[in-house]
């Protein structure tokens, strides 16, 4: 069928006219032309028949397809590969901090306070109180005047200290201290005086 010059403008508009896609003004123009043009009217009827056949065919084809789990199958095909764990954790953390900032700040502040309180107790267990110095050491030694003893301090080769007390009788009244000591030493050295036998100094 040859297309007249007047119909060349309207032939491309017939298909959207059939599908109802033309704006109102163009639809009215096409209807006026169809009312006056037998060829375009026949063309429009052919287009309607084709459209109807296509619709029936598609419906028959769709009836034969099982659309059960359709959405899951589609999503499975479009879901991207699972990112690495580190990436997922990073995204989770950033989103959590972004959308739950208040909760995070509260939790971190509470944890910091608990650590500040617990840290002294933890550290205390490692370094016993009072034992910052490496070795035990004697700072001073003295005796009470009435005790009549004198302290003697020995340092052993391994660095430990032995504090021993020896009898130190008071000086006899009226005698010099040296004489009293000499008398004592003489008494100690006389053969009749029993010598200390272990256990005594």
């Amino acid at each position: 069928m040859t297309v007249s010059q007047a119909c060349q403008t309207f032939v491309p508009m017939l298909s959207p006219f059939i599908d109802g896609e033309l704006p109102p003004t163009e639809r009215v123009t096409v209807e006026r032309h169809l009312a006056a043009c037998k060829d375009c009217t026949m063309r429009a009827a052919d287009l309607r028949a084709e459209s109807g056949l296509l619709r029936v065919g598609m419906e028959l084809a769709a009836d034969q397809v099982d659309f059960k789990d359709f959405s899951q199958k589609v999503m499975a095909r479009i879901t991207p590969e699972r990112p690495p764990l580190f990436e997922r954790l990073k995204v989770s953390a950033s989103e959590a901090f972004l959308y739950q900032r208040g909760t995070w700040v509260t939790a971190m502040a509470s944890a910091a306070v608990v650590m500040l309180v617990a840290l002294p107790f933890i550290l205390r267990e490692r370094t016993p109180t009072g034992y910052a110095s490496e070795r035990m050491a004697v700072q001073s030694v003295s005796t009470e005047d009435a005790a009549n003893v004198a302290p003697v301090v020995f340092e052993t080769k391994s660095g430990n200290a032995i504090i021993w007390v020896v009898d130190h009788p008071p000086a006899k009244p009226g005698a010099k201290d040296d004489e009293a000591v000499n008398e004592e030493l003489e008494l100690d050295s006389s053969p009749s005086t029993p010598q200390p036998n272990g256990g005594e100094l």
Partner: protein, 162 residues
Amino acid sequence: MTRWVVVVAVLLGGAALAEEPKVEVTADVIHASNAGNASDPALSAVKDEFASAGFPFSSYKRLSSQKLPLTKAKPAELKLPNGKTAVLELEDIKAGTALVKVNVGGTKVGLQLGREGSVFVGAGAHGNGQLILMLSPGASKRPRRAPAGAHPASAVGVPARK
């Protein structure tokens, strides 16, 4: 919730700061004599120490051992078998080091606590020998043995006799 956590934390911190300092000292009472050669094997290091210092005891026996907690407010008393009493008092803690005053039957010793070593204080006669009060760190570390070939130690403090 945060407010309560802060309140509890402040209270606990205050309690921790306000707690009085306490130190522990291990006090062993040892009986040394020349009655026989039987010695507690655990005291072999003590025997070596005393032998190196010129003390000729042949027998060492541990009569008691206990950890004494010391605070400034509460000194510890240790009754000895010979009727004497050893009093240990925490004098101060300076730069983490405790200074303890020990009084054994009239003998007063100012002691600086340390992580190693021991101090032996003669506590007088008892039975056929002598009592020795051995003060060690709270972890009950035994004194180190004197190296082989040790000679009698020289006295580091001898009161001048007039």
